[in-house]
Symmetry: C2
Subunit: 394 residues, 2 copies
């Protein structure tokens, strides 16, 4: 039950960094204090005393009195080199950079093993939902079948506005940006890259399988039009951008795709900037976690939880990597999908395994059918903004 | 990252014990084996080899090769003495006995401190939801405001049948018993004692406050009649039996009471034997956990997770007990309630702080008003089966 006092060195003081500062200030009983904050622009006005700040990374990385490095910057390469150097210097590291982590998981795992220091990143996946820690700590003995969830707050906010308030996609995106849920360049969110990085991280902690982000197919909500929305409504469904990894026939597959979701599905009721994760296992059936998926203090709070865990010498054990039965990754699974397009030349229907519905009008056409995930991933025709894809509920 | 092999001594081989046996058998990668199972009745037919069984508790408790005692019996006093002796003998203990734990928390805490051995009991609260571990590990730095939840699978199953299938209370109870969700003597469930024991346990891990079960008011669903159900329906609500502990004005209050719940509430969608727990905190707003709250394998799986955690030397830290700011327990809060009765002499309306609605018919009367929780707890008139109580949504 021993605890210690720790000094923090923070990289980045944007939305999450300031959220962490606020959360840390309002929390009693945690023996952590900020010693230094490394920023890029020394001339930007800051809400706290300037003596906290430096622009020299090594002032943190080489300071032997700093125990924990908290990495909260946006640039992937810079983030990786900060985290690597910190771990090599024997410092524990906390990070919220999903992209950097997802792209470097094998190296980051090895750095922890080699340097015997912990690296925690709960805030990188679903912000306030403690999903990594739950997968790490709780499901190691369970026969986990699937992890499925809404892992991106800004697209969920946009979809909620579309379906609850009849907003257009553009209006809803603008509103999300105003509220700070979406980045100025929203493509990582609306094209489904951000949730894919999270799925790559969750896949490792759920099944012990390393997969590179580029192996996982993502398709976002930026092709969505009124016809698709009407199609969903006619089927008593809403649309949710869902990331999924599922064990099937000894392998594991994963993707991020917009789904038609009906009311009985627990994910149906995850609204606004909230995230929701549904676990399916052999013994407990479904377990469901919901929490805020965006916002500075929600994410800052997840970062602080990692810092607090370090005070108690917590580290990820990556138990499933060491088990002998981790499944191989595959895209060789069939999905039942709706594909909407305008003219027949825009899609390649021969790639479908079967087609069960076909609709034609002067304005739009669609098919409902079964297609292999790898074929979808390779389909150049899906890049056309006049073509959209929705997964139908199994 | 060191793990060890452990030998288990199990007390009890009922629903949860057999669930544990099944889960353990189907789980690879956990180095735990059952050495002995202590049962009461040696003549009852058992589904596994008789060499596992003994009727002599000391054959487990005094066996130095047994590392972990798993206590899964029904009798509270016997369970406490088994757990006490096991802890004193330096064995780690896992238990699912909510009543025994809730009634003995201070002693059980002290036994862990004195004997430096872990005692884990995740399965005691909300079965498959890892709520204790989440409160322990994750919320220690958060400004937690409330823990609120559906913590009893059998009453939730009954209420679901009533509201979804228009069953009567008696039909629904019978159905729950047939499915094994309710005990033959269902009073602990339907009168709200079982969820109260869980709330007492959660209160400690959420706020660091010890409270005796008899200090907490519980009122169940066994007074519910068709008039109440109609009242709920008219207000576009369902009824859920909800346990609640909430920090207010520096103190913490708790109770288990049937609530009117509207559709926008996350607890509305917790159906059948599922449990749901909603956490409210300053930084993350609402976090919501859903999972199966009854059934042998769901509970057995939670027990196995505790066993697995022991392999990694996990123990509850009870961090909030050691923090200086744990709130005192109080029943001095106001609740907005509906009270239904038949004749004016059956209730004492002068005890209400105010009354906002009053209804009279030859058959039933009701009032809606505000009343102090302590007054409700002391109200002898609530024992009358012709009087019912529902909390209105705040």
């Amino acid at each position: 039950m021993e605890t210690k006092n720790i000094n923090l060195g923070i990289f980045g003081f944007g939305c999450v960094g300031q959220g962490l500062y606020e959360v840390l200030n309002r929390t009693k009983g945690i023996n952590a204090r900020i010693k230094k904050i490394c920023i890029k622009d020394p001339n930007k006005p800051r809400p706290i005393d300037m003596s906290y700040f430096t622009t020299d990374a090594d002032e943190i990385l080489d300071d032997p009195t700093i125990d924990v490095v908290v990495e909260l910057i946006n640039e992937t390469d810079a983030a990786f080199s900060i985290v690597s150097k910190a771990l090599k210097n024997g410092k524990a590291v906390v990070s919220a950079s999903k992209r950097m982590i997802a792209e470097n998981l094998p190296a980051l795992y090895q750095l922890q093993v080699d340097n015997k220091v912990p690296f925690l990143y709960e805030a990188s996946s679903c912000a306030s939902i403690p999903i990594i820690r739950n997968l790490e700590e709780y499901y190691d003995n369970d026969l986990l079948n699937a992890v499925e969830g809404i892992c991106n707050g800004s697209t969920n906010y946009i979809l909620t506005r579309i379906f609850e308030d009849n907003m257009s996609f553009d209006e809803a995106l603008k509103k999300a940006q105003e509220l700070g849920f979406a980045e100025t360049d929203p493509s990582l969110d609306v094209e489904g890259y951000d949730p894919k990085f999270k799925i790559v991280i969750l896949l490792l902690h759920a099944f012990g399988t390393f997969v590179r982000p580029e192996e996982v197919f993502n398709f976002g909500i930026n092709h969505l039009n009124d016809f698709d929305i009407q199609f969903a409504r006619q089927r008593n469904s809403t649309i949710k951008l869902i990331g999924n990894c599922r064990r099937q026939n000894g392998s594991v597959n994963a993707y991020v795709l917009p789904h038609l979701v009906r009311e009985h599905n627990l994910l149906y009721d995850v609204y606004n900037e909230y995230n929701g994760v549904l676990l399916e296992s052999a013994f407990t059936d479904k377990q469901f976690f919901v929490g805020k998926g965006a916002g500075g203090t929600a994410t800052g709070s997840a970062v602080l939880s990692d810092i607090s865990a370090l005070l108690y010498n917590y580290r990820y054990e990556y138990k499933k990597i060491k088990q002998s039965n981790q499944p191989a990754f595959t895209n060789d699974v069939q999905l039942k999908v709706y594909v909407r397009y305008k003219t027949p030349d825009q899609v390649n229907l021969t790639e479908f395994y079967n087609i069960s519905e076909k609709y034609e009008s002067p304005e739009y056409r669609y098919v409902v059918g079964t297609i292999n995930l790898q074929k979808l991933k390779d389909a150049a025709w899906l890049k056309n903004k006049e073509v959209n894809l929705l997964v139908l509920e199994h």
